[in-house]
């Protein structure tokens, strides 16, 4: 995706991750800023379905040619699905970070954690 974009309907974490909330489930991914800093993504090391992940802790890694980046969980919960299409086309994370480039779906263990996340404007304000 060529131009910066931070959709309003998402919540954001300071380590450059987004969450799309749907009741007590959520979808996570990395923001435009994160994929731009990484460069062309070559590998996404998907966690196992069923894995427990914790807010503010890294739950996986994304690799470009010259860098590796931890991906932080914006919220806690159990992984219910991983984006298997990324195994063949990890560059989807660059092309469509908020849509087809989603990383995991999670059943939230503590939906009240959403309150700690930022909205689009607040997140953009943290970027230089």
């Amino acid at each position: 995706m060529a131009d910066p974009s931070y959709p309003d309907d998402l919540k954001y974490h300071p380590e450059h991750d987004w969450a799309r909330i749907d009741g007590d489930t959520a979808t996570f991914g990395i923001t435009w800023y994160a994929q731009d800093a990484l460069g062309e993504v070559v590998f996404f090391d998907a966690p196992d379905v069923g894995a427990e992940i914790s807010k503010d802790q890294p739950y996986t890694e994304v690799e470009s040619v010259k860098a590796v980046s931890d991906v932080f969980a914006p919220l806690s919960g159990e992984v219910t699905a991983v984006n298997e299409a990324l195994a063949d086309k990890p560059e989807t994370i660059n092309e469509d970070p908020y849509g087809e480039g989603w990383l995991v779906k999670v059943k939230l263990s503590d939906p009240s954690e959403v309150d700690a996340l930022m909205d689009s404007a607040e997140y953009q304000a943290t970027l230089d």
Binding site: G39, E40, V41, V42, F43, E63, V65, K66, P90, E91
Partner: protein, 502 residues
Amino acid sequence: MIAQADDTLTIYERSKAGRRAFVAPDTDVPERAPDELLAPELRRAEPPRLPEVAEPEIVRHYNRLSKRNFDLDTGFYPLGSCTMKHNPKLHERVAGLPGHARVHPLQDPRYAQGALELMWRLQGALGEIAGLPHVSLQPSAGSQGELAGVLLTRALHEDRGEHRTKVLTPDTAHGTNPATVTMAGYEVVKVVSDSGGNVDLDDLRAKADEDVACLMLTNPSTLGLFETGIEEIERIVHGVGATLYYDGANLNAIMGISRPGDMGFDIVHFNLHKSFTQPHGGGGPGAGPVAVSDRIEPYLPRPQVVRRESTTNGNEPFYDLDYDRPKSIGRLRGFQGNYGVFVRSYAYIRSLGAAGLREASETAVLNANYLLAKLREAGVAQYLPAAYDRLCMHEFVLSGEPMRRELKIKTLDMAKRLLDHGVHPPTVYFPLIVEEALMVEPTETETKETLDHFAEIVTGILREAQEDPEIAREAPYTTPVRRLDEAGAARHPVVRQPMNGN
């Protein structure tokens, strides 16, 4: 370097069934049924699909490949922290003598006295250069020397009943340092650098506690700057009972001028493929001997080369391998180390002697400072300023951040455009604390004219970028291939020749 016509067939693609270079001699022993000697169920289903080519094809193939390589004998390699100095041609001749090249490592020491004596003498010379008395030649390369150093530290503390979990490395450290720390079972703690480019002493004091086993330091640092606070660093580190480890990658700046042992380092590693002229071979071999102080000596890897004074045989000393080392950390590799590399390094030290080694370092530092001055003179500093406004040692770091902002070309683009001018680029994007870093180490074996020419090339590329930044961004143009799709290679790695069924 001659750019060849497009010709990238692999040796497998040049193969044709039936062609061969080697034909085994006839079986001169009474032949037994092969299946009797090695039953069918022990044998592989299909033979290995190795190339099928005769000698002329092999020679031509690899010769052609060689012409798609840039190399040090052909041109300038100002790679920071790599010390790409000339590889003396004598060394291949002496390393090839059968009395060095064809001796089995497990030969009875009585019949390997020449090899053991050479190793013993090299140990002594390296120890003198480092200012530490005990040397092990065993480690295979710098990284393995670093590993030895941290494992020796562990052994020291364990022997004292201490259990420490952390090792400190500066934020300018070469990647092998933190990787080594993890491999040795410790946690890495980073120490920051101050605005002058030295280790921040306050940060070091804050982080140095009795859980710290070691501080790994390069001096001069990877910024090419001498750690002016080294005496205080030594007090702080030893004050908490930790060891002080010297990464010898930058030894080329100080040979015969200052010695890490005198600075208080407990353990030093050498890169024989840097200061001591072992040819890089496109990625090795090298060697990473370590020199240590008296208190670390008991833990050195096994075996050690020793000299025993003999009471027989006319008082000739006897060189031997000492395995009787009860406190040794053990082995890091098989046999005695990369002996072929020792032969070359020893020949180098004997060629230069004390005065020559000192002169090498003095000239290395002179050349680096001169090149830095030339680049400043030429107005390069506007776009590629030195990261630190100090005299450098044998290398210096420039920042390409102004160049990126104003000319819209990155350090990467500068590097790729340099390829079109027949020089190898400097080290790029290291150390990490300098934005768009370009680390330059000319070494002492380059002429003033080469340095002048390099400054001209850099100036020219900057001028060109002011006119048209696209040129550098799409460079190189004249190399055997242009920029390669590294992302594709990492996404779907193809790491061997595909063949039917594989």
